[in-house]
């Protein structure tokens, strides 16, 4: 059964090389952490911060470029782009974290349990998960969202979250398997430690690094997926801003005002870049290379 993992081979994250020494995460890592922090802060406190109303039209300031009044300019209805980006981050942040909460909440315990217990339970769950892994999540997500109307943020989080369970399961199970036969686990068993103790005190701390770096990359993937859905008009409805639907709305106005496209695109890419970079750095920092996912 383990072999199936490689054969279905959902894009394997890079696990080799990177010879940097452990001990330093580098300045870029902390810049990314700070950027991520700013984004999350903005998303949480968007309505407390002194921002113009992201939905308020202002016909005397249409398609303005960046200025002191409107930091990132205004769109075709005179709405403040900076404010819309900050409010838009709420969608990306909540879909990213919410969906991964569901994915990890279900996938991680199942994966650990399956890898620890093995046997019939493992076989059944793993086969089932691989059946669901066999086709791209985006099709399942689009299919369900197109029939399950009307669409809401909660439904989007739920559908993407459920679709991510098999991916999380696969990674956590593989990580647990690689730890399960290590000496320290066997030593704990020999000493008569309870299953609960082995799982929480021996296995969990050791698979946490894999889990965290996969969590960050998973959030990036989910945010991209929501962006694509929004771009296709299948996420939350305008006028409520999200990065994806801002980019979607900008595409007809590109020749008049390219700022409308550039700023939300930049916001999304920088957010994704910091997630990916932090995840990648953590993985090489904890030297996860031995865990062949």
């Amino acid at each position: 059964m383990t072999n199936l993992a490689n054969d279905f081979g959902v894009a394997e994250p890079e696990l080799l090389d990177r010879p940097e020494k452990r001990g330093r995460l580098g300045i870029l890592f902390w810049v990314c952490v700070a950027w991520l922090g700013i984004n999350i802060f903005g998303a949480i406190f968007a309505n407390v911060l002194p921002l113009p109303n992201p939905l308020a039209n202002n016909y005397s300031a249409i398609n303005f470029g960046p200025s002191l009044h409107h930091l990132l300019g205004t769109d075709e209805l005179g709405r403040d782009i900076f404010s819309r980006i900050v409010y838009g981050s709420r969608i990306s942040v909540s879909v990213g974290f919410g969906a991964m909460l569901i994915g990890f909440g279900v996938g991680a315990p199942l994966g650990m349990l399956a890898a620890y217990r093995r046997g019939l339970f493992d076989q059944i769950v793993t086969t089932l998960m691989y059946v669901f892994l066999a086709f791209p999540a985006i099709i399942a997500v689009i299919a369900v969202l197109s029939f399950w109307t009307p669409r809401s943020l909660l439904k989007i989080i739920l559908v993407i979250g459920i679709a991510s369970i098999p991916l999380v399961y696969r990674v956590i199970r593989a990580a647990t398997l690689s730890m399960g036969s290590r000496d320290f686990v066997i030593a704990a068993k020999v000493q008569g430690a309870t299953d609960r103790r082995i799982i929480f005190r021996e296995l969990l701390p050791n698979i946490a690094p894999v889990g965290i770096s996969f969590l960050l990359i998973g959030i990036a993937t989910v945010v991209t997926l929501e962006g694509a859905l929004a771009f296709l008009g299948l996420s939350i409805n305008p006028p409520q801003p999200s990065w994806g639907n801002m980019i979607n709305e900008s595409r007809t106005l590109l020749s008049q005002n390219i700022w409308i496209a550039i700023f939300p695109a930049l916001a999304l890419c920088l957010f994704l870049l910091s997630l990916n970079y932090i995840g990648d750095r953590l993985r090489s920092y904890f030297d996860v290379s031995e865990v062949k996912l």
Partner: protein
């Protein structure tokens, strides 16, 4: 022998997966709010149309029987007739599908043509200047979603540089004018190729680096075989297993990734047709496309699994 057994096992699994997909695709209609027939028929709710729909989906039967009524129709190549366009779902899909195939083939040619030579160069001098630049570049590209790439490609190429036949709605079918067809396919193919390129480059590079440390490579070197020959004849094949596996999954994903590209450029492939059908509440068409895409993805995965066993027959043995 082992290969046959392996393929047979895979075949059984594939049939199982397709069964699950078909169940999922059928019961999608029961996610619709209220009575599915009323929602699917929409404005065209005439007694005749209702009767046709009931016959197609077996809606007057029990919920389990419904699936088999529908499955029976599907296996006979009948996915129903759209109540919005009055066209058969199968013929709509038949018209759209080749466009996706063309787009994906073009993008994969581009992706492999750049990824393989670059990965070979990078792997020969890990952490050299070229390797560092290419790795950093590919990492950055990893964080740019295709829908952003296509928007800016259209902005630069079609809007600013005004290169003809690259903007939205410039697609013509390959039978009509193949030159214009290819021109209109450039931006979609490049967009899809960028994502694939990044993936292939990163995987092939890291696999090549570990292969090049193996003893048979040292032996080949000590025999005085040229570097070029070592790379292509000795190192490439053992390093390409993960690449082929990834390509299989990725190509399956591209059918879905093509959505945004087709949507923006109004290329009438499956993705565009699907989004259009969703917006028109043409649920039978949505259901048909979802089924066809999912089954194709599974078939592609199966095909690539088979390819892997040809590259490295050891995989089938354990």
């Amino acid at each position: 022998m082992a290969v046959i057994k392996y393929v047979a096992r895979r075949l059984v699994l594939m049939v199982g997966i397709i069964f699950v997909i078909s169940v999922g695709a059928f019961y999608l209609i029961h996610l619709l709010p209220g009575d599915p027939a009323t929602v699917i028929l929409g404005g065209g709710d005439t007694p005749q149309a209702r009767a046709a729909l009931y016959k197609q989906l077996g809606l007057n039967r029990g919920i389990v029987i419904q699936y088999f009524v529908w499955l029976n129709h599907v296996l006979h190549g009948n996915l129903g007739t759209s109540f919005i366009t009055n066209e058969s779902v199968v013929s709509t899909i038949k018209n759209a599908f080749p466009i996706d195939v063309e787009m994906i083939i073009l993008s994969q040619i581009l992706a492999f043509a750049f990824a393989i030579p670059l990965a070979m160069r990078s792997a020969q001098k890990p952490n050299g200047r070229l390797d560092k630049t290419a790795s950093a570049g590919s990492f950055t590209l990893l964080s740019i979603p295709p829908f952003i790439i296509i928007v800016f490609l259209v902005l630069i190429v079609a809007v600013k540089l005004k290169i003809p036949n690259t903007g939205p709605a410039s697609y013509v079918s390959i039978g009509q004018d193949w030159v214009v067809n290819l021109e209109s396919m450039v931006l979609p193919a490049v967009t899809l190729a960028i994502g694939s390129f990044v993936l292939y480059y990163r995987i092939l590079r890291s696999d090549l680096i570990s292969t090049l440390q193996e003893e048979f490579i040292t032996l080949a070197r000590s025999k005085g075989i040229s570097r070029r020959r070592i790379m292509w004849r000795h190192a490439f094949r053992p390093s390409s297993v993960a690449l082929v596996g990834t390509a299989g999954v990725n190509i399956g994903g591209l059918i879905a990734g093509g959505f945004v590209v087709q949507f923006l450029l109004q290329i009438p492939g499956l993705g565009f047709t699907l989004i259009d059908a969703i917006n028109l509440s043409d649920y039978l068409l949505v259901q048909g496309i979802v089924l066809v895409i999912s089954v194709s993805v599974v078939l592609i995965n199966f095909l690539f699994d088979f390819l892997i066993t040809i590259i490295d027959p050891r995989i089938a043995r354990d």
